[in-house]
Amino acid sequence: MSFCLFVNFTIKRYTYAMLHSKLSRYTLAFGIIVIASFALYPAAQGEKSLLIWLLLALIVSAATLTIKEK
């Protein structure tokens, strides 16, 4: 139980720190866009529409994260 709480706390702390530093936010957004864009190629070749929508949503979310000022 305490281990789960610790993991939960750590994830929350790092997520908070990442989203509140411009450099970390930009790094995260860049990483998501790169990985998702490459993953779109096999998804499109396999005609997996649902996966394509999911990956596109991830890229748009990363772009939205970039717009966020603080």
């Binding site: 529409s49 394509i52 990956l55 748009v60 772009a63 939205t64 970039t66």
Partner: protein
Amino acid sequence: MPFLATLPIIIILILMVGYRWGAARAGAAGYISAFIIAIAFFGASTKVLAYAHTKAILLSFDVLYIIWTAYLLYRVSDEAGAIEIIGEALRQLTSDKGMQAILIGWVFASFLQGTGGFGVPVAITAPLLIGLGFSPLAAVVIPTIGHGWAVTFGSLGSSFNALISATNLDAGYLAPSSALFLGLAALPTGLMVVHAANGWSAVKRLVAKVLIIGTVMGGTQYFVAVNLGLWNIGSFAGGVAGLVVGVAIAYWSEASQKHTRRSAPSTGGKIIDAKRLFIALSAYLILILFTVGILLAPPLFVPEIKKTLGEFAIQLSFPETITSAGYISPAGANKAIPIFTHTGAILLYSSAAAFVIYKRAGLYTKNAGKKILSQTARKMVTSSLSIVLMVAMAMVMQQSGMTEALAQGLANAVGVAFPFFAAWIGALGAFMTGSNTNSNVLFAALQMRTSELLAYSVPIILAAQTAGASVGSVLAPAKLIVGASTAGMEGKEGIALRAVIGYGGGLILFISLLTVLAVIFQ
């Protein structure tokens, strides 16, 4: 439809110029708007969007590979104090204000643009000029104008590479017109630099020297980019040739003036000996050696190794896609990205070799390598994200038929006057994004399609695009901020912009007129 297709570009323009957003944030807003418009009004399917994004990431990598490693080479040299040594040596050459502006604000700034870019030419040369007694405003204005002609083939050709990738046209087809326009633009640039430094009297006094140096720089850039095919070192080679000729002219002028006075006035600073200067220049000598060895002269390296290295390339084939509105993107492959013989790879090898030389010469402090890498990574995150988002927006627009609609609208609106406006479109793209590369990514396909629709020469119109963007990028607020920061002009960027806008506008007008003449006499 053309209005809807323009909307993402208008959004970027308003956010960057009106609200002073950075390129990454504005690029994200532009990308999201293009994404929504492509789905809602242009009938882009999941497949169209998926392939557009994969093409975008490949194009981005092709461009970023050069940008990352060019900045790394600059940091390797700067951390060793090499840039300071070269600048100091130039400073001590002449006491003539106009000649100092030529050597530091035009020739040395162009050389720095050839290797690094990203606001570095102004950031480095402005303090040198202030040290020579120039006002902070003049110290920002002179190098800002001075390196505008060298941007497209500068930064190891990253902007020209973007032009090639965005249009999928051959470098040999695009380079002659682009190198000619930019080489000719170097001449008025030199005169403007002298005017900004010392007024019309200096222009009259130094016009011959400016014409000689400008012809050498522009001519060398043309020869290297077109005749040798080494477009990635076009500006760099032009800068090196300019330094050699400029230093010789300054030395000769100073020696002849010594007859009329007892001693040369001191310009201050440490005396630079030849050995220190040679070590400082070693990073760039290595770059020339690697570039010529890998790209030009096979006998310098084992041909089998070169061939094997060239085989490791990233290239994907894409099927034909069609939107529900009926716009067809033909099947084809992206431009191959040879991992080990790419310009980015050459820069990486040069950076590693230069680091070893500087380290052996004792020019680094402890943990210099770590510092160089962490500063390069930090500096590159924002520009990488902005390029990826701008490219993604451009690719979504292209693949969904938005660029086609925009080109149709533009062709209808300006008609035969299009060649006059091509350079201004390129300049606008660079002004709002702060980058010649981004402008080429955004507008090159549009300009190409519009010129095809109006039956104008594609390489001439694309030369106007990239030459206009080259000059427009140095006027961008994003770049002026970097330059102003080292000259003690923080918060006074508006004053600097007002001072450079006339010179920049004059240069873009010059390129527009060249374009009109080129399409008339082609």
